[in-house]
């Protein structure tokens, strides 16, 4: 059995699956249910400073996009940080941590961008026995209008400043949660590192409007005829999260900075992908909010079985293994030639590959053979774009097969097994010339 135990910047948990700071971690009742279900840890829903509690809207908070059969693919929310009194949250955090000492208890924080409020709240959290704090510089709605959340996360100087205050005023590890609502994720990550943060977590939610209600022409969720953008998460954002994670993992300045991966993680496979991009733990929210806490069992057993099958004894055995394979386009091997192949035994003859190739791509699939419905790839037209594979309803029916000998029927060029990329390509005016 693979060992899923996790030690992320000194925070230990029996497995890498943490619930992200969000509604599922807002109070003792939910968190205890999560721990009973087997979650490795939680990031407690963001606490604000002492004072009159936060006020949420009393209308709908969520919007979603769905795939076939109303499978939830993306979730949008306009909920703010916790609206429960600070002291109650602190008491519950203390109690839960005492009763579940083996689970990670990280506390998310968001207070105004001044040193004193941060100092005060850090002291209060430290008193609970929590394992670490996560600085919420990511929420893109509501709190950002008050100069917090993503309003901080979009200014690297503020990130660095606040991270530095936090490191100064607490012994707890400090994780900086990053907003994806920014052009280059490396800048806030570098700032966090400069400020002394122990780790970053990403991504927080993305600015979004999921629908416009066509009866009253208002964004959804609609509050009395109006709507504001929310934060988008769920399976739909996973590709964005993976890309941003890879940027930080392979940036010279931030390489090696521990990362807690967040963004659309729905099953063990998603988690393994984030870990392969160097994440030390993964955080889940939408999947739990879609299916409930019990999914963690699939996640832990799935990850464990896959690791066993691959011979990885610990998470460290494969952590970061994909980072070196993320590169820039210009370094991709232009001599690598593949062609799509349709497995005629698996083909159900829906013709979707033909429709998209013929209408929108390269006219590289034929639709009949001897007068019968039959779909086959034409090597002399196939550029190996992969679209046919992506639209095929049957897994593994169409595959890409590498051509290692002969000539490429499309280009007429001999297949070379040598690596050659754009930087040396004759069509590139900036090509590096071999020394003459």
């Amino acid at each position: 059995m693979a060992d899923l135990r996790t030690n992320f910047v000194g925070v230990k948990s029996p497995n890498p699956f943490w619930l992200a700071s969000a509604p599922p971690t807002d109070k003792e009742y939910n968190v205890v249910r999560a721990f009973q279900a087997g979650w490795g840890g939680v990031v407690w829903k963001t606490l604000g400073e002492e004072g009159p509690p936060i006020v949420n809207v009393n209308g709908p908070r969520y919007g979603a996009i769905h795939g076939a059969d109303r499978r939830l693919l993306g979730l949008n929310n306009i909920e703010l940080i916790t609206d429960r009194p600070l002291q109650i949250n602190l008491q519950e955090i203390k109690k839960v941590k005492r009763e579940w000492p083996d689970r990670a208890m990280v506390v998310s924080l968001m207070v105004p961008c001044e040193e004193l409020p941060w100092k005060k709240i850090l002291a209060a959290v430290e008193e609970t026995g929590a394992d670490a704090v996560e600085l919420n510089f990511g929420c893109p709605h509501g709190m950002s209008e008050r100069g917090m959340g993503s309003a901080v996360g979009q200014v690297p100087e503020y990130i660095e400043m606040v991270a530095r205050w936090c490191k100064q005023h607490t012994r707890m590890p400090v994780i900086v949660k990053l907003t994806p609502n920014i052009t280059d994720i490396r800048h806030p990550a570098r700032a966090a590192k400069r400020g002394g943060a122990d780790a970053v977590s990403l991504i927080n939610t993305i600015n979004s409007i999921t629908h416009i209600d066509l009866d009253n022409f208002a964004p959804m969720p609609t509050i009395d005829g109006k709507g504001s953008h929310g934060g988008y998460c769920g399976p739909a954002v996973k590709p964005i999260a993976l890309s941003m994670t890879s940027e930080i993992a392979r940036d010279k300045e931030t390489a090696g900075l521990p990362i807690s991966g967040i963004g659309g993680i729905t099953n063990w496979r998603d988690a393994a992908e984030f870990i392969a991009l160097s994440c030390g733990s993964v955080q889940v929210c939408t999947a739990a909010m879609t299916y409930g806490f019990k999914i963690v069992e699939e996640m832990t057993t799935g990850l464990s079985r896959w690791m066993d099958e691959k011979g990885y004894a610990t998470l460290g055995d494969f952590r970061g293994r994909a980072v070196g394979n993320v590169t820039d386009w210009q370094y991709l091997n232009l001599n690598y030639v593949t062609k799509a192949r349709i497995d005629q035994d698996l083909c159900i003859k829906c013709g979707r590959c033909y429709a998209v190739c013929e209408d929108t791509s390269h006219q590289a699939i034929s639709q009949s053979k001897n007068g019968k419905r039959h779909f086959e790839v034409l090597d002399n037209e196939c550029v190996a774009c992969n679209l046919c594979i992506e639209v095929c309803p049957v897994q593994d029916c169409i595959t890409m097969v590498q051509q290692t000998t002969g000539t490429d029927a499309r280009t007429g060029r001999k297949i070379s097994r040598d690596y050659a990329n754009w930087t040396t390509h004759p069509n590139n005016p900036m090509a590096l010339k071999a020394a003459e």
Partner: protein, 444 residues
């Protein structure tokens, strides 16, 4: 209806049981069921379902319209090709047409329930009571349609749409043809056939004259004189003979007539049925009469068919449906003689047969089967009611690809033409195609 012999009685069940037995075989999809099912469609290229549909309904399009929240647009897509799409959704043997070739049948043995989705969409639009098509400007041309069944109705509707004035001559008291008089009751509940006729006629420009048929005052020559074009869609009038001794005994019934009586019955408990029923035949009518006899309270219902299950015209699904309703199907049995007591049939003496070089020969074994009621469901046959005016093929009217008969100005379609499939949906296609050809002729 003639008086029936003893052992054949009504009131075999209590009132509630009749209602339950003859309720909708496949109740309409709820919105949720329709959306879940519609989401399964792959929107295939040059979709096999569409090719398999005799009326070439754009099935992937109408399913997509359902899934995106517009079942009425879906219905319009269906009605564009098949104005009787509502009935076809209920009675088409989809398991041998669109659903048989659905790629999800290939992929996982579970085709999209196209028939059910079609019904969901067409019901949605029909309950609106607003006709989805408008007539073109009047052409001043007049067309006679003989027969108010699926072929005639489809033809009349399309002609009216193109601005021609249509008169339907119908032999019975009301239009609808086999939809009204022939389809199993549990496939078309709540008087749907009549409602559909009303829906088709609501386009306007179509008048129906009932009680009019060839041989009952109607003459082809008169129609040719009084109208600019004629469409013949009067179905089949004759019934095949069993070819057994004592075939005219009391208790031998013609399944088609009995179903017509059942379909028009206001009170099913008054419909007499035998305790033991034998049905001879292997098509849809045999299945329909066998199941309905069972539902009327018959204890033992047995279908006798002279060949194997794979040869039956009724689909595997229909055979299974009969069996789940408690009908027994015996194969390779051919009636030789009706067993009688006085004038009354009390059973059938049947020979076991086998196939030798494509011909059925007796094996030498035989069996006697007792019954109070014996149904003939061995097919209808054409009687040339036009008096030799038109060229025939195999006894039925010969037509070309545009449904033109051998006589200029006369078109034909449905069960009365040669080479047909004996399906509602095929009749509808004939009618529509004929109408398009007639329209071209009338406006050229």
């Amino acid at each position: 209806m003639a008086a029936r012999a003893e052992g054949i009685a009504g009131k075999r069940l209590d009132k509630e049981q009749y209602a339950e037995n003859f309720a909708d075989l496949h109740p309409r999809f709820t919105d949720h069921e329709a959306l879940v099912e519609a989401d399964r469609c792959y929107f295939c290229y040059d979709a096999p379902c569409m090719t398999a549909c005799p009326t070439s309904i754009n099935i992937p399009m109408f399913i997509r319209q359902i899934s995106t929240g517009h079942p009425k647009n879906a219905a319009k897509t269906i009605f564009d090709q098949n104005i009787l799409g509502g009935m076809c959704a209920r009675v088409c043997p989809t398991e041998t047409l669109c659903e048989e070739v659905c790629v999800r049948e290939t992929a996982e043995g579970k085709p999209i329930k196209i028939g059910q989705l079609q019904r969901y969409a067409t019901d949605e639009l029909m309950k609106e009571k607003k006709h989805p098509f408008t007539r073109a400007k009047s052409t001043g041309k007049k067309v006679a349609v003989v027969g108010g069944g699926p072929a005639g109705l489809a033809c009349a509707h399309r002609l009216s749409m193109h601005g021609h004035d249509v008169t339907i001559f119908e032999a019975r008291k009301k239009a609808g043809g086999l939809n009204e008089f022939g389809i199993a009751a549990y496939k078309t509940v709540d008087d749907f056939a009549a409602k559909e006729v009303e829906f088709v006629l609501s386009i306007g420009g179509i008048s129906v004259k009932t009680g009019k048929a060839f041989g009952k005052g109607l003459k082809l020559k008169d129609l040719q004189r009084d109208f600019n074009a004629v469409f013949l869609g009067m179905g089949l009038q004759g019934v095949n003979a069993l070819g057994a001794i004592h075939e005219d005994a009391d208790g031998i019934e013609d399944a088609v007539n009995y179903i017509a009586e059942l379909r028009q019955a206001k009170d099913l408990s008054k419909l007499p049925v035998g305790r033991r029923v034998l049905v001879v035949g292997g098509g849809m009518t045999a299945i329909d009469i066998a199941i309905q006899s069972k539902l009327l309270g018959a204890e033992d219902v047995t279908i006798l068919y002279r060949r194997g299950p794979e040869h039956m015209k009724a689909s595997a699904y229909e055979q299974e449906l009969a069996q789940t309703k408690g009908v027994k199907i015996k194969h390779w049995l051919q009636p030789r003689k009706v067993l009688t007591k006085g004038k009354k049939a009390i059973g059938l003496k049947c020979d076991y047969v086998k196939e030798v070089k494509g011909k059925l020969v007796p094996t030498g074994e035989s069996t006697d089967l007792g019954a109070e009621m014996i149904f003939k469901a061995i097919g209808q046959t054409a009687i040339d009611v036009t008096g030799g005016a038109l060229a025939l093929s195999g006894g039925r009217i010969k037509i070309d690809a545009e449904k033109r008969t051998s006589v200029k100005g006369i078109w034909a379609g449905g069960d009365c033409v040669a080479g047909g499939q004996d399906l509602t949906v095929a009749a509808v296609d004939d009618g529509r195609r004929a109408a398009e050809s007639m329209h071209a002729y009338l406006t050229s």
